[in-house]
Amino acid sequence: MEAAGFVKRYGKVEAVRGLDLAVAQGELFGLIGPDGAGKSSLLKAVAGVLSYEGGEVRVFGLPVTTEAGAEAAKAHLGFMPQGLGRNLYGDLSIEENIDFFAKLRLVPAADLRERKERLLGMTRLDRFRARPMKQLSGGMKQKLGLVCTLIHAPRLILLDEPTTGVDPVSRRDFWTILHELLSEGGVTALISTAYMDEASRFDRVALLYQGRALAVGPAREVAAGTPGVVLRIRPEVVGPGEIRVASSVGLSADRGGLAAAEEPGAQASSVSSAATVPRAFEAPDALELLGARYASVRGLGREVRVFVPGAADEGAATAALHALLGGAGIGFSITGREAADLEDVFVCKVAPHHADAPGGTGGPGGTDTPATSDTPELSGLDWTRDGGAPITPIISGASGEPARQADEAQGLAIHARGLIRDFGSFRAVDNVSFSVKPGEIFGLLGANGAGKTTVIKMLTGILSPTGGAGSVAGADMLRGGRAIKERIGYMSQAFSLYTDLTVAENLRLYAGVYGLNRRLAAERVVWAIKLAGLAGRENALTASLPMGLSQRLALCCALLHRPRILFLDEPTSGVDPLGRRLFWDILRRLSRRAGVAVLITTHYMSEAEYCDHLALMYAGRVVADATPEAMKAALLADAGPMLEVDVDDPHRAVAALRAAGFAEAALHGGSVHAQAGPGEARERGAAVAAALVAAGVNVRAVAQTPLSMEDVFVHRVLALEAEEAGAKGARA
C-alpha cells in the first residue's frame, strides 16, 4: 500500500492534508491518532470506498483513483469499518454472518468450511455459532467482525479502530488472535487506533494529527525520535530554607543515584491553606508548575511522571526540574526513569499548535505559542480561598442515622455500603461497598456491563437501589435525593451539551437549571469560560468545538453550582491525549484545591493511573479496591515482573513461551512481552530466556518493563474468569 500526497476534503474541511505513507508487504502497520486525525479517511480511500481530492493511493501497485480502478484490488482486500459490530447483521447468527461474507466474496464451499472452522476455533466463537450477532458482547462482535473480514483470505486487511470501546481484556485477546493470524505470513495489515498505548503492537506506526503524519516508523524509534528524558518524581514539601533533593535509584540497580544541587533561600510553597486537605494531596503544586513548563506531565497518585524534552541525560533533566521546582520551594525524589512513549511524543509535537488552545491555529508549522497558553485558567478553582463551598460536608441534621454521622466524622464524601441493584432476574450490581474521601480522585474500572454506570446512577439518585445504603455528600442516599443533587455534579459522555447552542448559552442554561441567581450566574459563567479555556469563543456554536473542548465545557457546566462531588462517566472517550491532559489538570486542581471528590470511570487504562484510588468491578462486584501502586505491587508479587524479550522470530517465541507455561505472552512489534511469574526479575528473566533457547529461538536481550494498569486489569479479570470457569466445572 502506498499513499502519496493524499488529500481528502469534506466540503470545505480538509480532513487529510497531504499524507505520504508506504506500507510494505507483510507489515503490521498502525495509524495512531485521536478522533479527526484522518485515520478513517485514509483507510476508506485505500479500501476503495471513498474518493479523494488529491494525491494518489496505490494498492498492490494498482492505482485506486477511480471506481473501476478500485475494483481491481478489492478481491484481495478485507475492510472492517469503524464501530463495533456495525458492519455485521444483528439478526443473523454468527455462522450466517460468516456465510454471507463468504458468498459475497465467492469463497468456494470447501475453503469456506475449512477457514470457518479454523477462525471460529481461534476466536473461541465456535460454541456460539447459532447465536444472533446482536446478542454478542462487544469483544465477541469485534472478533466476529475480524473473522468476516478474513474469510476470503485477503492479502491486505484494513481495520478501522477495531479496539475502540472494547474492554482491555477483549482488546488484548483481539491482539493475540490478530498476531496469530498474521504469523502465517504474507498478509499486510493496516490498522487504526486511538489508543497510544497500542503502538507497541505494530511493526511500524504513523502518528497522525489533523490530517498529517507527525512521525512514521517503529513505535520505539518514533518515541525515541524526540530527544528527552522521562522521570518519575515524588515531590516533597519542606520548610523554607531547607530544600532537599533526595537522590534515589531508578529501576535498574546499575543506575546510580543522582544528587542534585541544593538551592537555599527558596520560598515556601503556596500550598492550599485549608487545614482539611491532607498532606498527601500537596503534590499538585509541583504538578501545576511542571504542567506549565512541560507538555507531557502526568500525575500518578503522589508521583509525577514528566517528560523533559531536549534533556541529554538524567542529570540534565534532574537539574532542569530542580531549577523549576526548587524556586517554589518544592523538593523531590526521583523514583524512576522510563523510556518516552508515544503519548509523550504526541503531546510534545502537538502542544504548540493544538486545536483546543484558545489561540491555537492547528495550521502548518503551528505558532510559537508555548504549551502554557492553552492551559485553562485554573486559579478560579481555589474555592476554599474565595469563600466557595467548604470542603467538609455540611452537617444537615436531616437524618439521625448513626452510620451517616460516622461518615461525616470520617469526612467521607461518598460511602456506599452493600449496594445491590437487580434488573429482573439479572443482578447488575452485587453488594458493592467503597468510600471516597473529599479531595480524592476515585477511579471505577471494569469491562462493559460490569456495573459501573449502574453504581453511578444509584449514587446520583437517578436509579433506586434494590438493596444497600450509602451516603453522598453528607446526605443519605435513599432519602436525601434532593440534597444530593444540589451537592454533586454529573457528567457523562452521553450527557451532552446542546450542540445548537453557543458556549455561553449552554453555560447560562445550566446555571438556570442549577437555580443560581442572576448575579451569581453571570459571575460563574465568566469563571467557567475561563476555566474551560474558551475565552474568545463564547459565541461559538458548541457543535463546532473540537471534542476535547466540548468535553471540558461539559465539565464546567457540571461545576457551575460548585458541587462537592463530581461524577464522571467516561468523560474523555475520543479525546486526544493533550485534550485529556488538560481535562485532568482541571480534575486534579479541583480535587486538590477545592477538595472536590471525583468519581470517574474510564476506558483508558493510562488514565486509571492518574487516580488516587481504584476499584475494579467485575460482574457487578468490586473485586479490588486499592491505590494504583498497591494494585501493581500485588500483581508483581502475584505474577512476577513483565519482561520484554528481544528475539529473532517473535511469532515462534510467543508460541514457545505459551507452550512453556507463560500464558500471557504477547507480541509487541518486534519483541515479546511475557508475565514472567513471581520471583526476582533477573532470575525470572533467565527462566524465560532458557525456555526460549530450549525451543530454538535466539534471544537477543531480556529487559524488565514497567507494569501498566492494563496488565493489572487483564490479569485480575482473567484470574476471575478462570475461577468462575473452575467453579462451573466443579459443579458439573
Binding site: V49, S51, F101, K103, L104, R105
Partner: protein, 384 residues
C-alpha cells in the same frame, strides 16, 4: 451478474426482514390497515343527512310536504322543532345539518293557488356536503311542485291525470349509471386505494431497508467487495419487491371480497400492470435511499414524495381529468395516474389488454428510468 452473490444478498435480506418482527409485521400490517381505514372512512356518499322540520303551519298540506323528506332515504328525520331558537341550537351543535321551515300560511296559500313559502337552513361548514344536501332538497321540492302543478291542471283545465303529468314533464330524462350501477363510492375508492397504498408503502420499506444498511455501516461490506452495483440492487431489492407484490395481492383481495368491488377485466393484464407498478414504487424507494443518509430523513422524504401525490394527485379523490393544468402536470409525473387508469378499466369497466397497453408502456418506461437513475447514482466509492 453473479447469481451466487445476488442469492446471498437476497437471502441475507430476507432473513433480516423475517427476524425483525416489527419490520416484518409493519410491512404487511400497515397496507392492510390503511386499506381498512380509508376504505371505510373515505366514503364520499352523502346519505342519512340528519335534519329537523319547523312546521309553523301544522296543516295536512304542511305535514304532507314534510313527509316527503321524512321518508326519503337521503334524510334522517330527527324530529320537529318548536321555535327558531331551537333550530339554531341544533344546527350549532351539529346534531342536524338542515332544518326545513314551513311557513305559517303554507296550507292556506296552496289551497288558494297562491305560491307558498318554505325556507331551509343548511350547515355550510363542508361546502361539498352542503351542495349535495341542497341538491336533494331542491329535487324533492321540485317533485312536490310538479305534482301540485299536475293537480292544478287536473282541477282547473280538466285534463286527465296522465295528460297533466305529461304536460308538466315535457322532457323526460332517463338516467343509467354504467360500471358502478349503484353509484357506490366504496367500489371506486377501494380499487383506487390499491394504487394509492402501493405508491405509499413499498417506497417506505425499500428506503428504510437500504438506508438502515447505510446508517449502520454494513453497506461498506458491499462497497469493499467485488459485488457489482447491479448485483447489489437486484439482491437487495428482491425481498422488498416481493413483499410489495404480496401486498398488492392482499389489497386486491380486500377490495374484491371485503368492499365488494367487482373485478370484471383481464386478470393477466392487471397482474402485469401491478408488477410494473410495484417496480416503479420500489424504484422510488431506491432513489430516495440513495439521496438520503439517515432513516429519519428517508421517512420524511418518502412521506413527502409519495403520500401526498398518492392521495391528492392520483385520481383517488378527484378525477385527474377534472384537475387544473398544474395538478394534471403533477399527476402525470407520478406513476399512480397510469396505474389508476388500468385499475379503473380492469375493475369497473371490465376491459383488458387492449386499453391498458399504453399506460403499461408508460409504467415500464417509468420503472426502467428509475432503476437506470438509481444505478447511475449509486456509487461504491462515495465522497463521504
Amino acid at each position: 451478474m453473479n447469481l451466487i452473490r445476488v442469492a446471498a444478498l437476497a437471502q441475507k435480506e430476507w432473513r433480516e426482514i423475517l427476524r425483525d418482527r416489527l419490520f416484518f409485521s409493519l410491512s404487511f400490517v400497515v397496507p392492510a390497515l390503511l386499506m381498512l381505514l380509508f376504505g371505510y372512512g373515505l366514503s364520499l356518499d352523502v346519505e342519512n343527512i340528519p335534519f329537523a322540520i319547523h312546521d309553523l303551519d301544522r296543516t295536512p298540506q304542511s305535514r304532507d310536504y314534510a313527509y316527503r323528506f321524512i321518508h326519503s332515504r337521503y334524510f334522517d328525520f330527527k324530529g320537529y322543532v318548536t321555535g327558531e331558537a331551537q333550530a339554531q341550537q341544533l344546527l350549532g351543535q351539529g346534531s342536524v345539518r338542515a332544518v326545513i321551515v314551513i311557513d305559517r300560511n303554507f296550507g292556506r296559500e296552496l289551497s288558494a293557488d297562491r305560491p307558498a313559502h318554505v325556507q331551509t337552513l343548511l350547515d355550510g361548514t363542508f361546502p361539498y356536503r352542503t351542495q349535495v344536501t341542497k341538491g336533494y332538497i331542491t329535487a324533492i321540492n321540485t317533485a312536490v311542485t310538479r305534482e301540485l302543478l299536475a293537480d292544478y291542471m287536473v282541477r282547473v283545465k280538466g285534463l286527465s291525470p296522465s295528460r297533466a303529468q305529461d304536460a308538466v314533464d315535457p322532457v323526460r330524462l332517463e338516467v343509467r349509471y354504467l360500471y358502478n350501477q349503484g353509484l357506490k363510492s366504496s367500489w371506486g375508492v377501494a380499487s383506487k386505494l390499491i394504487m394509492a397504498l402501493l405508491l405509499m408503502c413499498p417506497p417506505f420499506l425499500t428506503a428504510l431497508g437500504v438506508v438502515r444498511e447505510k446508517e449502520s455501516g454494513a453497506i461498506y461490506n458491499i462497497y469493499a467487495s467485488n459485488a457489482t452495483r447491479a448485483e447489489f440492487l437486484v439482491g437487495k431489492l428482491n425481498p422488498y419487491f416481493c413483499i410489495a407484490f404480496i401486498n398488492a395481492m392482499v389489497l386486491w383481495a380486500m377490495a374484491c371480497f371485503l368492499f365488494g368491488a367487482p373485478f370484471k377485466g383481464s386478470a393477466t393484464a392487471f397482474l402485469f400492470a401491478t408488477v410494473l407498478y410495484v417496480l416503479c414504487s420500489t424504484g422510488i424507494g431506491l432513489l430516495i435511499s440513495i439521496l438520503v443518509g439517515s432513516q429519519v430523513a428517508a421517512m420524511i422524504v418518502t412521506a413527502v414524495v409519495t403520500a401526498m401525490p398518492s392521495m391528492l394527485y392520483s385520481g383517488l379523490l378527484t378525477p385527474v381529468a377534472s384537475m387544473n393544468w398544474t395538478a394534471r402536470g403533477v399527476a402525470a409525473v407520478f406513476p399512480a395516474m397510469y396505474y389508476g387508469r388500468i385499475i379503473e378499466s380492469c375493475f369497473l369497466k371490465g376491459l383488458g389488454w387492449g386499453n391498458a397497453w399504453g399506460d403499461m408502456l408508460v409504467l415500464a418506461g417509468y420503472g426502467a428510468g428509475l432503476f437506470a437513475v438509481g444505478y447511475a447514482m449509486f456509487h461504491k466509492r462515495g465522497k463521504t
